[in-house]
């Protein structure tokens, strides 16, 4: 269990690497590296001036967790959508996305196939509960 923010961040990134979510790791590291822009309140200039500063470990960890949630949330959206439609009487077992064609050519480039996992039953309830706990702890930011 991580006791401080840097340790928690390192643990989170390692766990993401172990699940092969390297794109998320890159996103997190990029956003953290950019730091944050704040107004320079000590500036004597009439117009607003801004400074860029690095994130402290707590800020970096909270940001990383927010990005983790943002990446998992769509799985819950798709899964809940299917659940809602089943409850409305639709017997379908899955949701998929496909691109339309005009004269044999796709109407939009498909650089990445839209492939979102689906959670059902207890797995959906459990993941929703865990993510909701995290969102509650993150609070309104």
């Amino acid at each position: 269990m991580a006791e401080d923010a840097q340790e928690a961040l390192d643990l989170l990134l390692n766990r993401l690497r172990n699940t092969d979510a390297l794109d998320i790791v890159e996103d997190i590291e990029t956003v953290i590296a950019r730091g944050v822009t704040e107004e320079d309140i000590e500036s004597k200039s009439r117009s607003k001036e801004y400074l860029q500063r690095a994130l402290d470990p707590s800020e970096a960890y909270l940001l990383a967790v927010e990005l983790l949630v943002a990446n998992i949330e769509p799985i819950l959206m798709k899964s809940q959508a299917l659940k809602n439609l089943n409850q409305a009487g639709c017997d379908s077992t899955s949701i998929a996305w496909q691109v339309d064609f005009v004269d044999g050519s796709p109407i939009a480039p498909q650089r990445h196939a839209i492939d979102i996992p689906t959670l059902e039953g207890e797995a959906l309830d459990v993941m929703t509960k865990h993510l909701s706990s995290v969102v509650e702890l993150l609070g309104e930011r």
Partner: protein
């Protein structure tokens, strides 16, 4: 601010469930599509709650398509290139359809992509038979969906207001997002602007219930349900 240890423990529990999800990384277009599907399902829920009936149909296979196929990019209501799905709904004698990612011709003749829309069933049948693009005369609802992981800007609101102004007389117009944006909330506070719903997500069931109730009330009023 949450203690780091409490948050870290909560994150641990997420990872214990991640094995069931398979791949974790989703690009932004995928997130938008997932959000639209979720909003579509909430509209279906609102129709049921208003005492209506719903049948999900594929344009090629009919009732209960499996899988339910949504458009990966905005397209044509009449297209049978894929088995695109929609919800055929009936409420107090009014028959209409809920669609995702369909293009409409606005009153200015400009082409608009509406994330989630409600259209007349009769009108949709005519479009499916005759081809062409649906106009806005029989368009009853336009819902703009934005799935974000950062703060939202007012420009998004202005773009949707512009779209809605070209859509004729809508019964339901809403801007929904899983994000937050104080500036956007202020922008939509004027009475003639689309209804905004922020923080819409399966992680916030009370917000989802509020959105469903909002749509339900609009449907009841439009279809004359007491």
């Amino acid at each position: 601010m949450a203690k780091i240890k409490e948050l870290s423990d909560a994150v641990d529990k997420i990872f214990s469930g991640i094995g069931a999800t398979g791949t974790l990384h989703l690009n932004s277009a995928t997130r938008e599509r997932a959000f639209e599907a979720y909003v579509f399902s909430l509209l279906v829920k609102a129709v049921i709650q208003a005492t209506g009936s719903v049948i999900v149909k594929g344009i090629k296979t009919g009732a209960n398509p499996d899988p339910i196929i949504f458009r990966g990019a905005p397209g044509f209501m009449s297209s049978k290139n894929q088995d695109f799905s929609y919800a055929e709904c009936s409420l107090n004698g009014e028959v209409f359809e809920v669609h995702v990612g369909v293009q409409y011709v606005g009153t200015s003749r400009a082409l608009h992509e509406v994330d989630v829309s409600i259209y007349s069933h009769t009108g949709a049948e005519q479009v499916r038979i005759g081809g062409g693009l649906p106009g806005t005369r029989k368009l009853y609802a336009a819902i703009e969906c934005k799935c974000y992981d950062s703060a939202l800007g007012v420009s998004l609101g202005r773009t949707f207001v512009g779209l809605v102004s070209d859509m004729g007389g809508l019964k339901i117009k809403a801007f929904v997002t899983n994000g937050r944006g104080t500036g956007l909330a202020d922008y939509f506070s004027k009475s003639d602007r689309p209804h905004p719903i922020f923080s819409l997500s399966p992680l916030r069931p009370k917000v989802a219930d509020r959105f469903v109730s909002h749509v339900e009330q609009k449907l009841r009023r439009w279809c004359g349900v007491s």
